[in-house]
Subunit: 429 residues, 2 copies
């Protein structure tokens, strides 16, 4: 039987898979015109074929056996939308071995095994496209690999997780505590029943590791990427930060200096005038700096069935163009280097610190003394009204070695006048 157009096997029909089916069906003709022929979904791997699906899916396409897709020589592109490491990793590897092109939206897979998979695909002149793995529908992988390819990228910072951004936005707007804002996000479907993946910063760590690898041309060991979540951010910190001219965001950053890279995710005070400061609710944004282009920012919906579907189908169209022109493997892996990942202790950071101390003369001097001994200089210090004989004191430091600041922090915690160090949050400019 002669094939018409490009034949696709879908692995997974959850949230993203359904979005892909919906986009393919809604814009079928325009997509066929751009892809030089229709994109046909030939088979879909699902766990439960009896589960009710939207009208867009013909039940006869469903299978529970991955071999129906991986072993079908007519299938040109395997589109992996299962998420998680296994069996996704095994299936993608097998798809490559069998000469199929791959499109995936799996950030964990690409963050952990992207380098090996891309290298293998490059050897075979096959494609692995993964625009949907980072920032949902926002174009960022292809811009880095193509539009901005002429630049030396020096820095990327982003809001890459919609769940935490929604929670922080609600906390800032309504004065809600973290737990209440999380519950609201869960009720609205913006947070999972088990939210740890998002709120601990792991999701954002996968994404920034992927972006850093492309931008800095090096594999990044995501296991070693520092990540800290938002569970300890309190509405009090948000208010104090605002008074000082900052908002609090979960920021993912990556930068390169002298051949070593710094990649991390943590809550951060961001100046209110900063382009990321006004990115609210579930929106994502990626800001980057290239030596030629200067600052560029990309903004949009970083998750969701249709936005991620937009990215995945964009990839499918591009791979179809490559197939048509015999040009798969055209944009190969660009990890030409192996750059060292800096430890947090090596970095220079600015820090916001909120503490409760005995309300008595000499307390600020004592704390400032410890900071000074550790070569941490102070940008601003504000004492807020005292209660129960305890004063709330807010500090913002100038940039100092993270190790020095942490050493000072340990000493400050031991000062008899210090009741509690309530929170410490880094500043990102």
């Amino acid at each position: 039987m002669a094939k018409e157009g490009v034949q696709i096997g879908l692995l997974g029909l959850g949230n993203v898979g359904s979005g892909v089916m919906q986009v393919l069906s809604a814009n079928r003709e325009a997509i066929a015109a751009k892809a030089y022929g229709p994109l046909e979904v030939k088979r879909i791997l699902v766990r439960d074929p009896t589960k009710a699906r939207g009208a867009a899916v013909d039940p006869s396409l469903l299978t529970t056996d991955a071999r129906d897709i991986l072993g079908d020589p007519e299938i040109d592109i395997v589109c992996e939308l299962m998420g998680g490491l296994e069996p996704a990793h095994r299936y993608v590897g097998e798809a490559l071995e069998r000469g199929k092109q791959v499109v995936t939206a799996n950030k964990e897979l690409m963050a952990r095994h992207g380098h090996a998979l891309l290298a293998e695909a490059a050897r075979r002149r096959q494609d692995i496209y993964f625009e949907g793995a980072v920032a949902g529908g926002i174009p960022i992988i292809r811009p880095l690999k193509e539009d901005l390819a002429a630049n030396r990228i020096t820095r990327i910072s982003g809001i890459l997780n919609g769940t935490t951004n929604y929670i922080l936005t609600r906390m800032a707007a309504d004065g809600k505590e973290f737990a209440a804002a999380l519950a609201e996000a869960q009720a609205l479907g913006f947070a999972e029943a088990d939210p740890s993946y998002d709120i601990e910063g792991r999701d954002a760590a996968y994404k920034i590791a992927i972006l850093a690898a492309i931008a800095f041309h090096t594999p990044v060991d995501v296991e070693r990427v520092y990540h800290e979540g938002i569970t300890r951010v309190s509405p009090r910190d948000i208010v104090h930060a605002r008074d000082l001219g900052y908002v609090i965001k979960l920021v993912a950053t990556a930068s390169e200096e002298e051949g070593a890279i710094d990649v991390r995710v943590h809550p951060a005070l961001v100046p209110t005038g900063h382009p990321l400061a006004s990115v609210n609710d579930v929106f994502n944004a990626v800001l980057l700096h290239g030596d030629a282009v200067g600052d560029v920012m990309f903004f949009g919906r970083g998750a969701g069935s249709l936005p991620t579907g937009s990215a995945v189908v964009g990839d499918l169209i591009d791979v179809a163009r490559n197939l048509r022109f015999g040009a798969t493997g055209r944009v190969a892996c660009t990890c030409h280097f192996n750059k060292r990942l800096r430890e947090m202790a090596e970095l220079h950071t600015e820090n916001y610190m909120r503490l409760l101390a005995v309300d008595r003369p000499g307390v600020i001097a004592a704390i400032a003394g410890v900071l000074g001994e550790n070569q941490v200089s102070i940008d601003s210090v504000v004492q807020k009204g005292a209660q129960d004989n305890l004063a709330e004191i807010i500090w913002v430091t100038h940039p100092a070695p993270e190790a020095s600041f942490r050493a000072a922090l340990a000493r400050i915690a031991e000062l008899p006048v210090v009741h509690e160090i309530c929170s410490v949050i880094r500043v990102v400019r």
Copy 2:
């Protein structure tokens, strides 16, 4: 003599050409790694070969004869950076005829002749890339053609001209009159000695016509694109707009409804919370809406030697990849339709109107009466303090047919109580 890498002929070595040379030289090795070999500039067409150039340019590359480039069979890519219509158009046509790939940053060329050139290139399976023609270094052409290809785009709005955005930003921040802000922009090199191209909105019209053609898959007759500049915007309007919750920007918009398109450039009141409202100084931004992706925004430097150089060299790398894989023509023209361009008179617009009228009872009623008779309903009306027996009255209408509003306007101007209609500016949401 065997060629090494990809051979490029540059047409023009002005602002953008110098930026291209600088980027190629600064990131030479990384670019060669991505392009599967070095990008070599073999010849550069200039008007005056004796003019002093930066150190990056070997004088022996310069020629005043375009045939040295167009007629050289070793040159793979002709990179047109002369600007203007002729001889750029003739040269690009000849380059295509001779089987060369083309990269250009020429918005006027692409807005006027893009459709014919792209169709010819598609027939020949050759490339014309033009990322630098719109919004400088900001990726937007390739995202529209590739990343967002799965979407039905319904609307694009953008700040596409840095000169006018700088002028409006200065007027808003310092209360400067237009002429003073223009003079400042000229002194800083942000505006040309003859600024009419920018301040009359023609530059932005070329750019939005190009974006609309790609987004809506149709040729756009740029001669028929409505454009209105910012020369009549006064600091008074900026202040009143602010009081009402708007900023004034030169906005380029394009949208599609029922198979017809609306493409235009004019000053507009934009709500302060709108993503374009905070785009200031020489920055550009493009906001678009796709049925799958939702709202996406791209932000960065829309002009300048290095940002535009970034876009042009990104294109050169991409074409080099196509050459390596024998895949030129891979992303062909996507103007599969011929959609009607709506006339302004057909559109529904919201309008801000500032007028001076005799300060006497019944005046607002008289003006409101005329608006009502023309089916234009009023969103808000504010009377500001009177002087010399004249009151300043600010109106904002609800959406109404542009033709009805213009009819009302003509009648209002004739009312005996109306002294002067000072300004009329559309609202864009």
